[in-house]
Amino acid sequence: MTASHHVSDELLLAYEAGSLAEGWSLAVATHLSFCPDCRARARQAAALGGALLATLDAVPLADHAFEAVLARIGAPAPASNGAAVRPVASAVPAPLRDYVGADLNAVRWKRIGTAGYQALIPTGDGQTSVRLLRIPAGQPVPEHGHRGLELTVVLRGMLVDGQERFGVGEIEEANDELEHQPCAGAEEDCICLAVTDAPLRFKSRLVRLVQPFLGI
């Protein structure tokens, strides 16, 4: 598998179908904020959902469902065009801002390995590991062994992986067949959003103990 700077079709489909776990979806939405091409394809994938909904068998609603909804709405007029909230000027795109705030300099970084920092991002899916990574210029991405899928979206600086260079907003979609060692560009520190499969949790304490040596 080769590295790509855009979100793959199958990932976009899963994202718009709503079957993609929250952690992966966060990386996809973050990239979409930067990438008009992928936004156009995402709208197409969403349109499939619309067409499927329109062709679905109707299941009758409860009696008086309409009245119940009217009562639920309560207030007579719907909210107007939603111009109330002023957009924040920030280098952090809106979907990610909900998780880490608007200012990358205000993130509480924790040292990781010999060179580099991370900030863990909790999500509700229980199956992905989501974190911000800050890698000093020219240094490799720390703790880089991963199983399964790995999504990385660059937020500041540059990520270099072999011949490939990923700039701000670009996404690297890599699976475990891809042997690679990404590092920060030589010019400046690199900050990126990194999502991987959560480490397997074994019930046996013995297995957990030897897990690091088995590389699982």
Binding site: A45, L52, D57, V59, Y99, G124, G169
Partner: protein, 222 residues
């Protein structure tokens, strides 16, 4: 590795529960030929709701989409009571958010699908569905400007439905598993006894096929 037994079990389970599901799943898209018209009408209703809080318009939207949203939620694993509750929540949201509907970006069906989908993710999985904010200044930074989107607009909804009806049963089943049944690609792979890579490439092919089919239609129409 417990793959062989798991694969066999899920294949058997799939065969058993599959027949019931297939009855619903393979129902050929029997939409009226005027899907485009329907979407146009629904889009006008949404505007009327946004502009004049028009209850008659809301009734029309409610009567068409309410039962379909309920069907969608029941196929996503909700029981009838839960699906009913979430459907009412979805329709209330449609009323409240009608001002945000933009017919340039999505058809009425697509817009309502995304509302129901997000409520489903929140209710069934206790997860969020991170999404772009159309007003996010970050979006303006991205050049070139977004290309006009042939597939999303309401005039193309009819073409899309037609193209989907031409997919094979197996392809329609894959779409249904992802869109209705809230199954991840690895879960689909396990249930169908296929390698994950195969499911991914089939999904990709379906998407490419639909897009190609649409471009032909668009090119052929003056």
């Amino acid at each position: 590795m417990d793959w062989p037994s798991r694969g066999l079990l899920s294949t058997l389970a799939n065969k058993r529960s599959g027949s019931g599901k297939l009855k619903m799943g393979t129902r050929r898209t029997s939409l009226p030929a005027d899907t485009g018209l329907l979407d146009k009408k629904m889009a006008a209703c949404l505007s009327a709701i946004a502009e004049t809080a028009d209850r008659e318009a809301f009734r029309i939207v409610f009567d068409f989409y309410g039962p379909r949203v309920k069907g969608f939620l029941m196929r996503s694993g909700g029981n009838a009571a839960r699906a009913e509750e979430l459907t009412q929540e979805t329709m209330a949201m449609v009323w409240r958010k009608a001002g945000l509907f933009d017919p340039q970006k999505a058809s009425a069906s697509t817009w309502i699908f995304t509302i129901a989908r997000n409520l489903r993710i929140d209710a069934f999985r206790r997860e969020r569905h991170p999404e772009i904010d159309p007003d996010d200044p970050v979006l303006q930074m991205s050049t070139p400007p977004e290309p006009h989107d042939k597939l999303a607009g309401e005039q193309d909804a009819a073409h899309l439905v037609k193209a989907m009806a031409e997919l094979s049963d197996a392809e329609q089943r894959l779409l249904a598993m992802a869109y209705y049944e809230d199954k991840s690609q690895s879960k689909i792979a396990a249930e169908l006894g296929l390698p994950l890579g195969t499911v991914k490439s089939r999904m990709r092919l379906i998407f490419i096929k639909l897009r190609a089919r649409l471009q032909t239609v668009v090119r052929d129409t003056p």
